[in-house]
Amino acid sequence: MEMVESKHKWKAWIYLSPAIILLLIFTVWPIINTVRMAFLENYSGLKAIGGATFKFGIGNFQKVVKYQKFLQCLKNTVLLCVITVPVSTVLALLIAVCLNSIKFLQKPLQTIFFLPYVTNSIAIGMVFAAMFNIVGSFYGTENEIVVTAGIINNIIEFFGGKRVNWINTGSSYLANMTVMVVYIVWNALPFKILILLGGLQSINKQYYDAARVDGTSRRRIFTRITVPLLSPMIAYVVITGFIGGFKEYTSIVGIFGEKMGPADDAGRLNTMVGFIYDALSTNNQGRASAAALILFGIILVVTLINMQVSKKRVHY
């Protein structure tokens, strides 16, 4: 009997071996090595091959947080997070609640609202860029004639507004950020609607029947029944929204290309992840590692705060 048991245990490790070997190389070692490189001052992979040695210390972190470019990246990332997560959550909640209270066309509308999920964020970013672009004035030089202002500006002018230079040369930071917020919210809606609608559909109808018998008003039903019972799902989409938001990168590449900003101000919209990749591609692994650990720290703290808040507010 004992022999069978031990043979059994030995077998489990065989089943696990491919996963474990790959995880050791591509997950466990990177964790150790990234922490190591972060604490070796000015570590560079290229110089390390050349035989250079590096002093142990927190110099990388000190440099990174003083670095003007890093602060700009941090500002962009935090701004985008703080704006897009609440906006997309509230909008998704509204859409989900509305979808849940209709019968006719419910399924087709549900399908439409999920469609942006299965898209390539670079590809559709290019569509958004085309929509916001000022057609005909690609370089903003004086001898170029501005033929028209993209479809978005046409719609704005149709409703009596003024055209805006959204993403081209000479555009303002505010205009750039507006485009990014619109695109990121558009991109974030499907997942949130899916989760919130799933939550709504699992709420027991008896609560609503009871409220109706008591003559409770619609708004009261929403704030006293729907939101509390949906709070675990709301907490979930907010937490995953923040985690994803702090890793924002490809949506900006989609719209602005790899220069991460309008043609005359490259890097203006760069994010934390973009900063890490820039440091990596210039062989500054020490700086990249320090920035990655800072990003991890921020995500961890924000997630813990979110969970703390939801512990008080969420009704399970």
Partner: protein, 294 residues
């Protein structure tokens, strides 16, 4: 209660009022939802009609909402100018190979965690789950030097191997495996069925929906991957679809031909739409449990 003493007339009155309120609310709901649906769909519509316009029509000051002359030739031009054929093949190859290998690894690991007993099982599983919290960029920095040392730069291997193990997929499949009753396993043991045979004949068929979800998410991941391929395999021979698309239209120094660009974007998006139309159920199921895009 007040209902008992209420006059019949009053009841009729309130019910009529309720009906009007209900109707108004329904109208409002449909107006709001349809408006939002239009906003959600508009970029797709704009992509398709722009891809069918001629360059001169695209640049008209008042845009047309349907192309006057439908230019399918934009698609042919996009296909050749962005070298989409090669990009499609590269992506398909990487997607299929990595999906198959990833499924094998995931099934074996999930089986060990769900059915087999060994020392430190729970601790190991908890440690795996903990790694899910770490942002991928933290791994990328070291993995980049690892694959460079291994001489994997600009190969298919570098696009496939580092991402074969997904802790999330192992977790997903383990949960599914654990729902299969123990009695089935014990009965199979009594009959002398081997673990591997039991896995293939019972567990895999019973968890097919989860396996399909994993397959779709993994394929979509290959289709949408951008950062890692750009870093390690951005040569002509191994370039993936998303990189190729972004490169093809930023490397050009001249005028941007938007209709052709939109045609290329549409060509990259169509396979995803097809997957969406036919396999929506599985995607939604996988996605609602993940929170990860691709």
């Amino acid at each position: 209660m007040s209902e008992n003493i209420m006059h019949e007339k009053d009841i009729q009155k309130t019910s009529l009022r309720q009906k009007i309120v209900f109707a108004l609310v329904q109208v409002f709901l449909y107006v709001f939802l349809l408006l939002m649906a239009v906003i959600v769909l508009f970029p797709f519509y704009w992509m398709i009609i722009s891809s069918l316009k001629s360059l001169s029509e695209y640049r008209e000051s008042v845009p047309t909402f349907f192309p006057r002359k439908v230019m399918f030739s934009n698609y042919a031009q996009a296909f050749t100018s962005a070298n989409l054929g090669r990009l499609f093949m590269n992506t398909l190859y990487v997607g299929v190979v990595s999906t198959i290998l990833s499924l094998v690894i995931t099934i074996l690991s999930a089986f060990a965690f769900a059915r087999l007993e060994f020392k430190g099982k729970n601790a190991l599983f908890a440690a795996l789950l903990a790694t899910m919290m770490i942002p991928g960029e933290l791994f990328t920095i070291t993995n980049y030097s690892t694959v460079t040392k291994l001489g994997w730069i600009n190969t298919y291997t570098v696009l496939i191997v580092p991402f074969l193990v997904s802790v999330f997929y192992i977790y997903l499949l383990r949960q599914n495996f654990m729902q299969i009753p123990d009695e089935l396993y014990l009965a199979a043991k009594v009959d002398g069925t081997s673990d591997l045979k039991y896995l293939c004949k019972v567990m895999i068929p019973l968890s097919l929906p989860t396996l399909i979800s994993i397959t779709i998410l993994k394929m979509m991941g290959a289709w949408n991957s951008y950062i890692w391929p750009r870093l390690v395999a951005n040569d002509e021979a191994h370039r993936m679809i998303t990189n190729g698309l972004r490169n093809a239209f930023t490397e050009t120094t001249g005028d941007v031909n938007y209709p052709v660009q939109m045609a290329a974007v549409a060509l990259v998006s169509f396979p995803l739409f097809l997957v969406f139309v036919f396999l929506r159920k599985y995607i939604m199921k996988g996605v609602s449990r993940s929170g990860i895009k691709g």
